[in-house]
Amino acid sequence: MDKNKKRKVEQSALKYMTKGVFNKAIKEYEHLLKFFPDELTYLKQVAKCYENINQPQDALRYYSRLVENYKKRGLYKQAIAIYSIMMGLGETKEEIYDDLAFCYKEINRAGDATLVYRKLLENYMKKALFRSAVSVASKILEINPEDTIAIINAAEAQLQLNDKNRSIELFKIAAQIYKKQNNLAMYTKILGRINHVSGNSDAKILNELASIYIIQRNYGEQLLELLLKAYRISKEAKDDDTLIETTKLLVTFFKETNQRKQMLSIRFELAKIYERIGEKEKALETYNKILQIAPGSQDVRKKAKELQQEIQKLNKPETIPSSIPKLEPIENKTVISRPIPKKESTITELELKNILREVDTYIKFKLFAKAEPILKDLYKKYPKISGVTKRLKEIYIKTHKIEQAVELLFDLFEKLYKKDKEKARDYLEEIIYIDSENKKANKYINKFYNDSVSPKIEDIPETFTLDESTIVEAKDVINDEIIETITIDDDSLGIDINDDYDLEQIKFYISQGLFENAKLELDKKLKISPNDPELLTLLSQLEQAVKPIIINDNLSNGHEDIQEDVDDILKQFKKGIDESISKDDAKTRYDLGIAYKAMGLLDDAINEFKLVYRHVEKKGDCLLMIGLCYNDKTEFEKAIKYFKKALEYSENLNQKLAIYYEIANAYDLLGNFKNAFSIFKKISQKDKTFRDAYKRLKQLHVKLKADKNNISYL
């Protein structure tokens, strides 16, 4: 066809179109298309003409050709426009969605591509074309690997294709994503679905579900049922890790529901499991926890003792026992005593120092029964070390063993007599103080006063045989300087301590695992000298020593222990706040509410906002914040109640829209998609750009359709 002829036919076709004679226009354009089959204008005009004479199928045929040509030429935006017309004409072929999504991807509009794929996915699911559904889902996941709707649909499709394992695997991925997003409501729903699909047989999932109940403080029978099921399954499967996790959750359950007996019994089970799998230190720690609550339990005490001995055998003496509970009363501390060297000649200064430090700790905490045998043993082996004798004497006095105390006081008197008579006399006076009728002591003391200075050497009984050679012998064992350092006075039981002694004591506490005591002492010192290098070094040592315990806490995921600590700290903190910040200080209280909310301390946040609510200027804001807290608590109905109240205080359209948005969001989370949809629609009508209301509206449209398809959680 030559140019003139072509122009004439084009003019004729256009004339017919303008006059509305579409049939004739079609004939003219079809004639042109025989010569120019890929001419975009002709294709478009024919399609339009068919639309105008209400022949959609023919229109679609031509639009289809047109769109293929656009794509061939890389004109994706134009192609997208045509797809939209085609869909308006009722085109339902799945391929069209696929192609449309492809075009969106080509122009980097991944979000739109995803929406189209989702629509396609929905269609395939409706038509039970599960393989195709899986394939589309994977295309969505190529765009966004965390698209939960695609993952869940794929999981449902795999289930229909009888691939249960793959289905569960996909559900688990979706659950993890929701968990990461802190979307507890959806996380719970998906876990419930996994539980259903797996036929209630996955103990780990049951544990996860139980953990959520615990987080929500929902301690009903359902929780116990879940846990008992998990317990049975993991026990039968001999899955110790899961069994331990379940047992810990059971401990939390019984603890929170004040079922003390059951709590102790399940803790006992936990300890036995640890013992069985060779986790001796954890077992010991668990037994100790039981003893904290039930100190009279002989069986447990016996087990703990046996275990402690076993651990002692395994560990080197210097090893810090990682099983020492942080805050338990000293009576229950599982301090591993350092063995006393058997032969006198083998003791080193350091060993003796350490033993005496340990003994001092026992004395400080009035654990005389523990200190006494160690000292007696030492005294027997090293009778010349006055530090040992003095400590033992002190214990005898405190435990009213006067006879033994007197005997030791005479011993001390004898040892000191030659070196310092005045000081030696103090021991005699002490004897008279505790045993005023003691004849020997009275006789000697009288001698002292009568002679105005001291008794003559010949008056001193034969037993007073301490001479220079004996002193030298004693020095061979341990030098005087050290004896001085470790020899403490009467008031040394925790009162008069110099700096060095403090530091040594802190070191000792650390070495013995008495971290709380070490921390207290160190904090005191750091308050005075915060930049003292030696103190800072000790702080590092302490932190290093505590680290394994913290790590153990984390590994064990022990809700109880970690929570208890924070609860206690929070209690102290709130008390301090109440003392220092007035309840009428609305600004600070409001800020605190925000802080608590950010930390997930939702009840505390609500309390702060309720306090501030009394102030006129913040009422609406507080109601909104309380609503948001309830949203976080997944108590959506309550949240809606507060949002609706907040509406009463809204002053302008923006505030109203903001609150309506929260209401719609809460309805959505509640699963009331219809209400959510209707509110998002109203928001979008007022302001289409308000937050992501319009996007949410479109998503809800999908959800509502899915609802019809009985996949409620979509």
Binding site: K179, K180, K326, F515, K519, L520, D523, K524, L526, K527, P530, N531, P533, L536, T537, L539, S540, L542, E543, Q544, V546, K547, I550, D553, N554, I562, Q563, D565, V566, I569, L570, Q572, F573, G576, I577, S580, I581, D585, K587, T588, D591, L592, I594, A595, K597, A598, M599, G600, L601, G620, D621, L624, M625, A646, N654, Q655, L657, A658, I659, R691
Partner: protein
């Protein structure tokens, strides 16, 4: 994630001062509080234990410039630095928008700095956060004291992601506001990218 109140048009951004015990986190907040205009700051909530250590957390809200018509508030928090209080620290890190890691540059605190950073990374991971993705700056504090660590060496270990670093002496205020500005910039930039 920032807490955005669309009704009042306020953006609340959470910035946590993290670091080993006694590194100067609270001192940073105190200095910021002292030098900020009354109209722009809230109360400094700071409770201490008997031993003068942070109890649970310190907290200071301050207002900064408006962003897209939204009033922007920085909520500054400190964590208790002592190892014992890991559960508290973890709680405070929840929904954090930016981190100032305060490092104590004194020689004996070398390991404590590294451990605290490890602890930060672990705690963030528990919330599914990667420190790489969170606006973070590092403040090398106590630069005025003797016996300080070779910063090159410390930085190589402490700062593999090359976060911006600021030298400071929080007690005298040197570098405190520079650090705050540094983190604020990063946090706001991330917010604007959303």
């Amino acid at each position: 994630m920032p807490l955005i109140n669309y009704a009042s048009r306020i953006i609340n951004l959470k910035i946590v001062y993290y670091g080993p015990g006694l590194c100067g986190k609270t001192t940073n907040l105190q200095y910021i509080y002292d030098k900020t205009n009354k109209e722009r700051k809230g109360s400094l909530v700071s409770l201490a234990t008997e031993a003068d250590r942070t109890l649970f957390f310190d907290f200071l809200p301050i207002e900064v410039a408006k962003i897209n018509g939204f009033e922007t508030k920085l909520h500054l928090y400190t964590v208790p630095g002592q190892v014992f209080y890991n559960a508290s620290r973890k709680l405070i890190l929840k929904e954090v928008d930016g981190i100032v890691f305060v490092s104590d540059v004194q020689e004996p605190r070398y390991d404590a700095n590294l451990e605290s950073m490890d602890n930060l990374v672990d705690n963030l991971a528990e919330y599914g956060y990667n420190i790489k993705d969170i606006p973070t700056v590092i403040q090398y504090n106590k630069m005025d004291l003797p016996n300080i660590i070779d910063l090159k060496e410390l930085n190589a270990e402490l700062n593999p992601y090359h976060f911006p670093v600021f030298k400071a002496s929080a007690a005298s205020g040197d570098g405190v506001f520079e650090t705050l500005k540094g983190i604020a910039k990063l946090v706001v930039k991330k917010l604007q990218g959303r």
